[in-house]
């Protein structure tokens, strides 16, 4: 029983990180119908930036803030300089550009920071809380992870549902031409969408870095898990992305605990294939409403 509780808590914590990556992919898919494979590279860069800032200033929170801010800027720049030029062409063009950007960012990171992964101090203790006479597999850092991702998700929800900018972003995502006829500056909304998505990605990078270390290729698995979570959730539903992240986090945690950690990556693919076979549109897709 204790083991089950531990695995569940650990699954929730990991799941929230997958949820943040899923959110970053969902926001972009909704806005531009592009799966941003470069997201793994973008969050790797911002986490490297955090690592450098923390190293030279000694302040975790300064590095944290700079990483989030650079995520916003990086997302906006990528949309303006690269994606905008290929968005009107065939979908494959954008995918190739995103993959190319991923390779480019990983090569750049290797040139600037070197290929040897470096450690990343967590913001809070990773030692589990002492409950019922033992340390559970969930500590202050996990609390921070859960609260940070939930906080960002709630803020995004408020932005989308309660503000004029959010309404314009949703309109731009659902029906860009109609939105333009209403005077919405759709191009700016897309840039903002990419910026916010990259911010979610940066957060995921910061939260997962203590566990995976910071290196040019160390964040590849997190992108795969985040993508799986996003697909479970339906790829265009932010709420679905968060729930998908939690589901995947729990499944992978149980697999690792009861079966063996070697099975984790394989299980993620199994979950992905199972969801695609049973419900190809994902568990929370909103597309159906439009087809009627």
């Amino acid at each position: 029983m204790a083991r089950f509780v531990d695995l569940t808590l650990n699954g929730v914590s990991n799941g929230m990180i997958y949820a943040a990556v899923a959110l970053s992919l969902v926001l972009i898919w909704r806005a531009t119908r592009i799966v941003n494979f470069a997201q793994g590279g973008m969050l790797m860069i911002t986490t490297f930036i955090a690592s450098s800032v923390i190293g030279s200033s000694g302040s975790y929170w300064l590095g944290f803030a700079v990483a989030l801010a650079s995520g916003l800027v990086l997302g906006a720049v990528v949309e303006r300089l690269l994606i905008r030029r290929v968005a009107d062409g065939p979908a494959l063009n954008a995918v190739i550009v995103a993959l190319g950007l991923l390779v480019l960012l990983q090569a750049l990171a290797g040139m600037i920071w070197g290929g040897t992964p470096r450690s990343f101090e967590p913001a809070f203790s990773i030692r589990g809380y002492f409950i019922g006479g033992r340390h559970v597999l969930f500590g202050p850092m996990d609390s921070f992870t859960v609260l940070a991702v939930l906080g960002v998700a709630v803020l995004l929800w408020l932005l989308f549902q309660r503000t004029s900018i959010g309404l314009q972003m949703r309109a731009s995502a659902f029906a860009p031409a109609v939105a333009r006829l209403q005077g919405v500056r759709v191009g700016n909304m897309l840039t903002l969408g990419w910026a916010l998505a990259a911010l979610c990605g940066s957060l995921a990078g910061l939260l997962v870095a203590p566990a995976v270390f910071v290196g040019p290729n160390n964040f590849d698995p997190i992108l795969v898990f985040g993508f799986t979570a996003a697909v479970i959730g339906g790829l265009d539903s932010p709420v679905g992305g968060v729930i998908g992240g939690l589901v995947l986090g729990l499944v992978l945690s149980y697999v690792a605990g009861y079966w063996g950690s070697a099975m984790v990556n394989l299980s993620a693919l199994f979950v992905l294939i199972a969801v695609l076979m049973v419900r190809p549109e994902g568990l929370f897709a909103t597309r159906a409403a439009r087809r009627i």
């Binding site: 029906a175 333009r180 005077g183 919405v184």
Partner: protein, 235 residues
């Protein structure tokens, strides 16, 4: 108010408008008639900026608007209500309407316009919390028109407002359009496949065929012209 001169519009290599010219006087209702594929919607899409004409000029209030972005043109007071499919199904009725007025800075003015639109189209007020995707065809047309009115336009481009509607619903929509002209002096360019219902409310008519203007004149003359009706309007 609106003057279109020698406009040519292409979709890729396909020519949709082949030198179309027309004039719309302030406070008038002009019907653009023609069969499917005659270029009616292309004309509206060109005027509102969704597509760029390859040649010709589009002047609104004396200012050249050809080539301007749609989000700029709507701010000049020229609104385009796409046919009913153009409501955003995933947003509520209220959100669709809000969207139409977002570019206007004055919040009090926006709230007042809500009242005006609901007074004109009471059905929208009853449905305000529902997703636009759940509306009937006629309600969607009303929402599309209401949303365009939220920007307090001086001129309205209406695309097939009676498409797919029962005759009684189409008549209701035409009555709303006539009412708008009377109460607000709104200028309307109305695209319709249903010539009978469009000419019942319009002052003038323009008939398009394969991207060219083939006839234009007083609505009553066009309605009475046997040959024209037979060849182009299918009446």
């Amino acid at each position: 108010m609106l003057s279109v001169d020698g406009v040519q519009t292409y979709y890729g290599p396909v020519m949709a408008l082949d030198g179309v010219s027309l004039e719309v006087a302030p406070g008038s209702i002009t019907a653009v008639l023609g069969a499917n594929g005659a270029g009616k919607s292309s004309l509206l899409r060109t005027v509102s900026g969704l597509v760029r004409p390859r040649a010709g000029s589009v002047r609104f209030d004396g200012r050249e608007v050809a080539g301007l972005a749609p989000e700029k043109i709507v701010r000049m007071g020229l609104a385009h209500a796409p046919e009913g499919g153009g409501v955003i199904a995933e947003l509520t009725v209220q959100e669709n309407l809000e969207l139409g007025a977002l570019w206007r800075r004055d919040r009090a003015e926006r709230d007042r316009t809500f009242g005006e639109v609901f007074a004109l189209l009471p059905r929208l007020e009853e449905r305000r919390g529902l997703a636009a995707g759940s509306l009937s065809g006629g309600e969607r047309q009303m929402l599309s028109i209401g949303r365009a009115l939220m920007g307090r336009p001086r001129m309205l481009l209406l695309d097939e407002p009676s498409l797919g509607l029962a005759p009684i619903m189409a008549a209701e929509i035409m009555a709303v359009i006539g009412e708008l002209r009377h109460s607000q002096g709104l200028t309307v360019l109305l695209v319709e496949q249903n010539a009978h219902s469009a000419l019942s409310v319009a002052d003038r008519g323009v008939v398009l065929n394969v991207g060219r203007v083939v006839a234009s004149g007083e609505a009553s003359d066009l309605a009475a012209d046997e040959d024209l009706r037979h060849h182009y309007l299918g009446l």
